[in-house]
């Protein structure tokens, strides 16, 4: 009992709200929307949007692991989702009728695990060439993988061919989005903990300098493959969730265009920034759906034009070297850190201390550069040694210090 209390006080001492802020926002989000969903006061379209946001977040954070933390470009993430979705949908259709009576979401949970594992197997297979290939070459291999998966699924009658699998498991949609968000939260915690672990730091070391990491004794092969397996496992789960929220799931929903949509979320959110990926996934999904509602029918092309223009402008704004000084004053990151600092301040009594590691180094403080007048004053200073100065050190003739003060 005593140890228990000591453990908790230790946890309390180390607890920093800032590190867990995303979890709390996530939880608050679930707690706000769950009662609304359970009482059925949300519109169907809103619920569908929430479901889509949920699995987009799961897909984006899983890709963020490969692109942002391992530093390898993957253009075939939809392939892993596709495997998860197809295997999961088949399994759900088999299991749902017998399991739905006892617990409605058990079939979904089993499907998520099996679908994730199936995707992870292929993640292992794609991780193997990743040991030999780098950069754009690996990117095209992942793209090729995505295309191969799509082609093969479309030819297999077992998976419904080009028509896809009809979703026989009709989850009560008032609850499905809550399940999806809980899964998203769990995978977020898992990924965040992985990044902070020994392996996560090793992965980041590989990203920054593979040779140096190898020299430091990091097992590059193991860590690379592990990231691919882990990431594809979560992508497979995202695929199962996506399959559960749709009426039919077909292989042609997972083209390389879809992989690129996920990649856009990761890149816009900021490389190696999980919270950024979540925000970007949410915003892009909301933007996509609301533009879809505004521009219908023959106007659908305008939606794509707006989307493309927004994408180009945001990337130029956040990445152009010419806009760097402007960004440092008015960038998204600046406002975000101000916002989080405010929220943390609201909830914590202690004065917020700036993390010294994150404090910006001010190169030259131009307000302190001497003006010409001061410069003249400095230059005209007499630099000959001051006669009145008395050294603290004992004089060579053995007198102790202090005693010689009055002598001169």
């Amino acid at each position: 009992m005593n140890g228990f209390i000591r453990y908790f006080s230790a946890v309390k001492a180390r607890f920093k709200l800032k590190n867990y802020l995303t979890y709390f926002i996530f939880l608050a989000f679930i707690l706000i929307f769950a009662p609304l969903g359970l009482t059925g006061s949300l519109k169907m379209s809103t619920e569908f949007m929430l479901e889509q946001i949920g699995y987009s977040i799961v897909a984006a954070i899983s890709l963020s692991l490969v692109v942002g933390f391992l530093g390898e470009l993957s253009l075939g993430h939809a392939g892993f989702m596709s495997i998860g979705a197809m295997v999961g949908a088949l399994l759900q259709n088999k299991l749902y009728p017998s399991l739905s009576a006892s617990s409605p979401f058990l079939a979904l949970v089993i499907a998520m695990i099996v679908g994730g594992l199936a995707a992870a197997v292929f993640g292992f297979i794609i991780g193997l060439p990743a040991l030999r290939l780098k950069g754009d070459y690996l990117a095209i291999v992942t793209l090729a993988f995505c295309q191969i998966v799509q082609t093969i699924f479309e030819q297999l009658p077992f998976f419904g061919g080009t028509l896809g699998i009809a979703n026989a498991a009709r989850y009560s949609s008032h609850k499905l989005f809550i399940v999806i968000f809980v899964v998203a939260l769990i995978s977020l915690v898992a990924i965040n903990n992985f990044i902070k672990s020994k392996h996560g730091r090793a992965v980041m070391a590989i990203r920054d300098n593979e040779i140096a990491a190898r020299a430091m004794g990091v097992n590059v092969s193991f860590n690379k493959i592990f990231v691919f397996v882990f990431s594809s496992f979560i992508a497979g789960i995202a695929g199962v969730l996506m399959a559960a929220s749709k009426n039919t799931v077909a292989a042609n929903a997972f083209t390389y265009n879809y992989s690129i949509d996920i990649l856009v979320m990761v890149v816009l959110g900021g490389m190696g920034n999980i919270n950024g990926s979540i925000v970007a996934a949410t915003l892009i999904t909301v933007l996509n759906i609301s533009l879809n509602n505004v521009f219908t029918g023959s106007m659908a092309a305008i939606k794509n034009i707006v989307y493309a223009l927004v994408l180009i402008l945001i990337v130029i704004y956040t990445n152009a070297p010419g806009l760097k000084s402007f960004r440092e004053k008015h960038g998204f990151g600046v406002y975000w850190s101000k916002f989080t600092a405010k929220i943390v301040k609201l909830f914590s009594k202690k004065e917020l201390k700036q993390d010294p590691a994150k404090e910006k180094e001010f190169g030259a403080d131009w307000s302190k550069v001497p003006t010409k007048v001061e410069m003249d004053a400095i230059l005209s200073t007499d630099l000959t040694p001051d006669k009145s100065y008395v050294s603290d050190k004992p004089a060579p003739d053995g007198k102790t210090d202090g005693s010689g003060k009055g002598d001169k």
Binding site: A144, I148, I211, N304, I305, L311, V315, N319, A320
Partner: protein
């Protein structure tokens, strides 16, 4: 035997088209160090330019020239507006911008022309030697692809601009110190790549009159990108070799009924196998890493 010969020639001509598109990819990659995902959509721009001018005038040669000019203009415009501000930014940011440009071109075409395929037939007739029949279009494609490759190789190795391109691809900063305007060179690269894309668009329409629509460049674009990587991205002979290899494999695989549905999977599986055996492609330069 005759079937084999016909398939081979068809494959070579398809490979020529792929090689032409792949040249655009590989030159831009070699010189600007970026994957230009919008390259496939330049083909589509060329296709629509051909369609409009051909329907208006009916003269194929004029419409081809107009298409080439329009594509060069679009290529240069995207370079200046979208890629130049990002010079020196992370390669991924440039990649996303290229994807944005690709979406933009596609959706503008969708807004203007809808999504259904347009019919444009450029008939050149067929020649028959005994029972051996071959469309003139295929031969023209094959010959002009070979001609383009020879001319491009000469241009790059013999002219001042070509040598400047080689210098920029070797070391951009050093080239700039030697007095080469690297922005101008990159612009010229985009112009040449886009002109080749327009030509490729013409040959795609020659093969299939129902191919002009707003996503006509997507699949040839990916295949050409694959071809460029198989040959070793950044290498010009590599792009030609990769394109020809892919074209031949695609045609032969399509001619076997059992393999037909799996053609795409076979091509990409081949890509993965080649990359695992030779990680920098067939003729790719191996980069030695300094520590």
């Amino acid at each position: 035997m005759l079937d084999f010969l016909t398939t081979l020639i068809n494959g070579l001509s398809l490979g020529g088209v792929y090689a032409m598109i792949a040249l655009g990819y590989t030159m831009v990659y070699g010189i600007a160090k970026m994957l230009n995902f919008a390259h496939g959509d330049i083909i589509m721009v060329g296709g629509f330019a051909l369609l409009i001018v051909c329907n208006a005038t009916g003269i194929t040669s004029v419409s081809l020239i107009v298409a080439v000019v329009v594509c060069m203009a679009v290529g240069i415009l995207t370079e200046i507006l979208a890629y130049r501000p990002l010079r020196g930014a992370s390669p991924l940011a440039v990649l996303i911008t290229a994807i944005g440009v690709s979406y933009l071109l596609r959706s503008i075409a969708q807004l203007a022309f809808g999504t259904e395929a347009k019919y444009l037939e450029i008939n050149m007739g067929t020649i028959a030697i005994g029972s051996f029949r071959l469309s003139v279009g295929t031969l023209v494609t094959l010959l002009s692809a070979s001609l383009v490759m020879v001319l491009l190789t000469l241009f790059i190795n013999k002219t001042r601009t070509g040598k400047a391109m080689l210098a920029v691809s070797e070391d951009k900063d050093a080239a700039q110190l030697m007095g080469i305007n690297s922005n101008r060179i990159i612009m010229i690269t985009f112009a040449i790549g886009s002109a080749l894309a327009a030509l490729a668009g013409f040959f795609i329409i020659l093969k299939n009159p129902f191919s002009v629509n707003n996503t006509m460049g997507a699949m040839p674009g990916i295949m050409a990108f694959t071809a460029a990587v198989i040959g070793g991205i950044g290498s010009i002979p590599g792009a030609m070799l990769g394109g020809l290899a892919l074209g031949i494999i695609e045609t032969f695989s399509n001619s076997v009924p059992a393999l037909n549905p799996y053609t795409v999977a076979i091509e990409f599986a081949l890509l993965i196998v080649i990359l695992i055996v030779k990680p920098t492609g067939l003729i790719g330069k191996k980069k030695r890493e300094k520590v």
